[in-house]
Amino acid sequence: MKLFSRFKPQGGVHPDGRKDLSADRPIRILPMPEQLFVCLQQHVGAPASPVVQVGDRVLKGQLIAAGQGNISAPVHAPTSGRVVAVGDYPAPHPSGLPMPTITLVPDGEDCWAELDVPADPYELAPEAIAERVAAAGIVGLGGAAFPSAVKLNISRKTGVQTLIINGGECEPYLTCDDRIMRERAAEIVSGIRLIQRAVGCREALVGIEDNKPEAIAAMREAAKGSAVQVIAVPAMYPMGWDKQMTRALIGKEVPAGGRSSDIGVLVHNVATAYAVHEAVVLGRPLIARLVTVSGAAVKIPCNLEVPLGAPAQALFDYCGGYAEVPARMVMGGPMMGHEMPNPNIPVVKGTSGVLALTHKEIGQPVPSPCIRCSTCVRACPVGLLPLEMAAQIRVGDLAASVDIGLKDCIACGSCSYVCPAHIPLVHYFNYAKGELAAKERAKLKQEGTRKLAEARTERMERIAREREEAARQRAARKAAQEAAKKAAAEAAAAAQQESTPA
């Protein structure tokens, strides 16, 4: 049995973890807020489309928005109550732009809808497990929020040898995965068994960073007697990146631009495995998740089980409010999370933490010129050249930055973190990726409008041609008629002449 991983991770940094703020706080359940703002796009892919109307009474776990298309996820009511609005609300997104959202006023009864509980969940067909995962609206809870059922179906078709369960949780401050592994290890192992059955793979590895000894012990205890192996991996950032975890556990590297399934690996987060257990064994859709509330500006940092759609402010209030005025509010971890434009932004499926940080914690140093020290090159877990890419983007040569791997950048922030000149490297990469996507969209639009213009030109020419043709025919008919009339007149005249005796 492997206890420690033998493979060395690439790149990475070692930021101050600050996990001690909340790691020893047991999971508590957030009291139901006054209003829930349930976003319709809490996942990668097409937004869900609402199936309830304003004024409808819904039960806990009832479907309120159905998934659309191949890559999407349905959304369920986090509690029983009344729908008071179906409209736009500021999204959990750095722009703070509005997103379609269902606003729900809880009735306080927390009354479950009828749940479909299978007799023996571990005997379900693999397809049936994936179907239940899809119907429960489960997405990757590590933060990527990719619909889990899509991953299960792809993996079942392509064949997967190894299931990797990601318990890395490398982002500083966050401790919700640590707590779920300590307190709900048996359920996670049950979820892992179900995922194994759904994709038909025998090997299951749980990778946990070695800075969480309690979680490792709890998971080893729960995994006893099953095929699940728990392996400690070195603590570093970004160990929780799925490809880094794969490299650390089995020593294989996913090709650039490829997926984990290309090397026979499927990666899921521990919280996702827990959600799969809840969905398949208990029939409960994904309507709540664990969220770490932390940061030096929070009075009592803790780990909360939060109904989806709860505004971040409700979480801070429950944690005793602010110890001091926060300098920045962040949703997600400090490395890859994003600033909240206001504290009323709702929690979504991908929210692993909400942080209220002080001035001392964020620090906003002024950038100075690059000294080409290449610290960022050593820190990059993908093996890119952040300094070169940023320099090319700065002068507007986006194509050159793509040539040296911009598309492979995972925006983990390691380079920005270590840069002694404080250059906002990841900001450059995010800007460039957005600009390239916008160019791509513009190109698609241009192709579409070009086709429209061609169709119109063709139509105009056809109409003109038909008109000409019609005019010609009319003229011909008229000429024929006139000729006939003339002939008739001549004939009549001739007849008259004949009948009149000379």
Binding site: P98, P369, Y428, N430, A438, Q446, A453, E454
Partner: protein
């Protein structure tokens, strides 16, 4: 002597025949540059450049009789692409580019005269006589023909609204420590 003359004559005839056949079989129709330039241009045939459609503009560009800055709806991107294709230096400071725009009908001013959608090169305007017209944003190239055609100034070119799908980070400011 006779052998040399005969062999050279045969060689000349054969090679001449080969060249003649090759000229027919491998003939290049038209100027490929014109087609490549046409692929860069927006293709909406709006005529704002003063040429009869994008094909005319592409021919003028290929022959060098028109500046690469001729296409107003294309903006800076098209100017840069044309300059790269034709290998010319261009002063971008004179190129107006207010970012992508689309036409918008002000409903309170629209009288339903149907003049705008008769001139729209991409059929992006929907409407009928004495009914308020509207613009399909996805099909509009912001060529501005409808703006000129509207008798009540009810059509404006507005910046494309930013949505969650189209938003992205701005370029970082270059704010260096002294």
């Amino acid at each position: 002597m006779l052998i040399a003359v005969a062999s050279l004559t045969t060689l000349g005839l054969l090679l001449g025949l080969f060249l003649g056949v090759a000229a027919r079989r491998l003939a290049v129709e038209g100027n490929p540059l014109v087609e490549e330039i046409q692929a860069i241009l927006p293709g909406s045939q709006c005529g704002q450049c003063g040429f009869p459609g994008c094909a005319g503009a592409a021919e003028a560009l290929a022959s060098g009789s028109a500046p690469v800055t001729l296409c107003p709806p294309g903006g800076r991107d098209v100017v840069a692409a044309l300059a790269a294709k034709l290998g010319v230096e261009v002063d971008m400071s004179g190129v107006k580019d207010s970012g992508p725009t689309v036409a918008e009908v002000r409903e309170e001013l629209c009288i339903g005269c149907t003049r705008c959608f008769k001139v729209c090169p991409t059929d992006a305007i929907l409407g009928a006589a004495k009914h308020i017209h509207n613009v399909f944003r996805e099909a509009c190239t912001a060529c501005g023909k409808c703006v000129d055609a509207c008798p009540t100034e009810a059509i404006l070119l507005r910046p494309v609204p930013v949505t969650l799908q189209s938003w992205y980070w701005e370029k970082p400011e270059e704010r260096l420590a002294a």
